[in-house]
Symmetry: C3
Subunit: 258 residues, 3 copies
Amino acid sequence: MVTIVLLTDFGDSPYTGIMKGVIKNINPEVEIIDLNHSISPQNVIEAAFVLNGSYKYFPKESIFVCVVDPGVGTSRKILIVKTKDYTFVVPDNGIMSLIIGKDKPVKVVSVENKRYFLKKVSNTFHGRDIFAPVAAYLSQGIKPVSFGKTVKKINKFKIEKPEKKGDRILGLILYVDRFGNLISNIESDMIKDKKKDHMIMIKGEIIKGINNSYEEVLSGQPLALIGSFGYLEISLNQGSAKDYFGCGIGTVIDLFID
Amino acid sequence: MVTIVLLTDFGDSPYTGIMKGVIKNINPEVEIIDLNHSISPQNVIEAAFVLNGSYKYFPKESIFVCVVDPGVGTSRKILIVKTKDYTFVVPDNGIMSLIIGKDKPVKVVSVENKRYFLKKVSNTFHGRDIFAPVAAYLSQGIKPVSFGKTVKKINKFKIEKPEKKGDRILGLILYVDRFGNLISNIESDMIKDKKKDHMIMIKGEIIKGINNSYEEVLSGQPLALIGSFGYLEISLNQGSAKDYFGCGIGTVIDLFID
Amino acid sequence: MVTIVLLTDFGDSPYTGIMKGVIKNINPEVEIIDLNHSISPQNVIEAAFVLNGSYKYFPKESIFVCVVDPGVGTSRKILIVKTKDYTFVVPDNGIMSLIIGKDKPVKVVSVENKRYFLKKVSNTFHGRDIFAPVAAYLSQGIKPVSFGKTVKKINKFKIEKPEKKGDRILGLILYVDRFGNLISNIESDMIKDKKKDHMIMIKGEIIKGINNSYEEVLSGQPLALIGSFGYLEISLNQGSAKDYFGCGIGTVIDLFID
């Protein structure tokens, strides 16, 4: 059984439920899983980050439908991107940027065949009118090539990469989670020896060393660790680093490798 | 396989999950889909609007369970309303007002047969004790007539209708979505020629013309368009019209037909 | 078909969706139901309360996965607790306190067998790396004993019990729901005759008697009733008792038995 996984910025709205109705109306057998609907409105970078950190945990053959789509109603393309194990139905707005660097697409198609859309297509809710039915037909085994022309190029944005300056790595906060953990763009493999006496500077405060778990510092104290997405994170034991430092997405962090 | 669709004002509470437990306990085979649980507490008009804009996207035979029920524990009836293609389990509080005008009920039953309730019925959580089990038994094929007496009349509220005054249509905002789009009560078919130079006045500001998509105006600029529910909407390209105009449900809009 | 029920403090984050991916990857056949993800961050008492009030509504054989886990990454145990009808996968942090008093565990196992974990276990997201795969394997029929050693003792916290002083019962608010209902720790069976002229004092205001439903008082007026979880609740007809009294978890209430 194929699974369709939904990622949107629709929040608590009925829009997600309606998409599920459309999908089930076409393929009653498919399973639908919510990955997340709380992407900040129209924040493609946040969506790219969440998608990249999540998709490999889902069963092979899963179809990801990502509707974070500030360009809805414009001429931006909708793509079906097939990698070795997964299929993505996405606006061509950079949302695949982090994935396609590591997981080369084997097929990219521009969705154009109106036969697979709802009969009446609005200009403001392609999630319902195009993404949902296309995913449902894909889940029935219809080949990507039936949906439109093969495409050579996918739009990529350059997500801000950490800057290496001698012993320093300058990064920034890319994502803040529900617990106020600050997730940076510094990947685990940029930091060779996690045991050394590194120092992290954030908002003028210094955090010493990279810890393995929250409890290694006192309750209410900040710490740095490699988070579950594989990036350097700033956290607070039993609290919110976001509140403690009064900062969020875009805050600079400065890592001094000892 | 029949689908049960849930619409409530339970928000992020465990109440929805408990209803799912009750349903699955009776009919493990049924599929449950969340339409929306973020209806403003006890706002029957908002629920009626969302239900009306959504239900036709779901598979035929779907059973909608709507628990926006300020009268819980009072003598208000609970109804099973069957239309040609769908079944609704609802409090008799007007929530069906928008649907039954267009989609005539073929059967309306007042839910009274305690055999289909949980054994112990509370006065405050009929969602769990009555709505959920009734929907589960319906999904097993038990006929509406088994649940109680046929009823002739359904409570309707008169949702504020737009007022036509010569070349002007006076409407108001009925629903504000997650993106701050302001959805009015002026239906698409009240506006004959969408290309003409209509003007919309809202909060003392004038919006010219009805656009087809957000991108037809500059980023941060307001516009009017026919939204995905089929009503005139006021939006902001790349932003929130709700924040821009500082307004919400009940705000008057004034459409001047050219 | 076995059902896995999820209870976490992950809020609107993608963490829940990722857990579902992990579960489905191991057992594509299992059904997953969200009980609730809006437990206040790391609030084990709230989680214990919600779990206790909910679990009996789910089908027998359901597996509850509860990730409210301030001790993640520490040496706190993860337990499989089997009662007569249900299985719980929980951190050993007191979350089972309210259940095990009434529903004696028949088997408690400390989860240690890494064979049933994800290959790479992080220090911060055991929901994904341990709880989810363990629950998925349990749902495939693997016996609890395969996951680790039998354990004799489960950590319990003493949830603040109401204090009886002559004709008075001193309780406190344990949970505030989406509607602003204030749910106390005074259980229904502590109050013998609900019809008598009891008085409840909260925040210096007096509520007379225990009502059966909201409508027994005027709109906007406070009342006391036995709520759907079986505890004494303070509510407001057509409004929020939380806002009315300006109070929340921990607020003292004073019940005078007539």
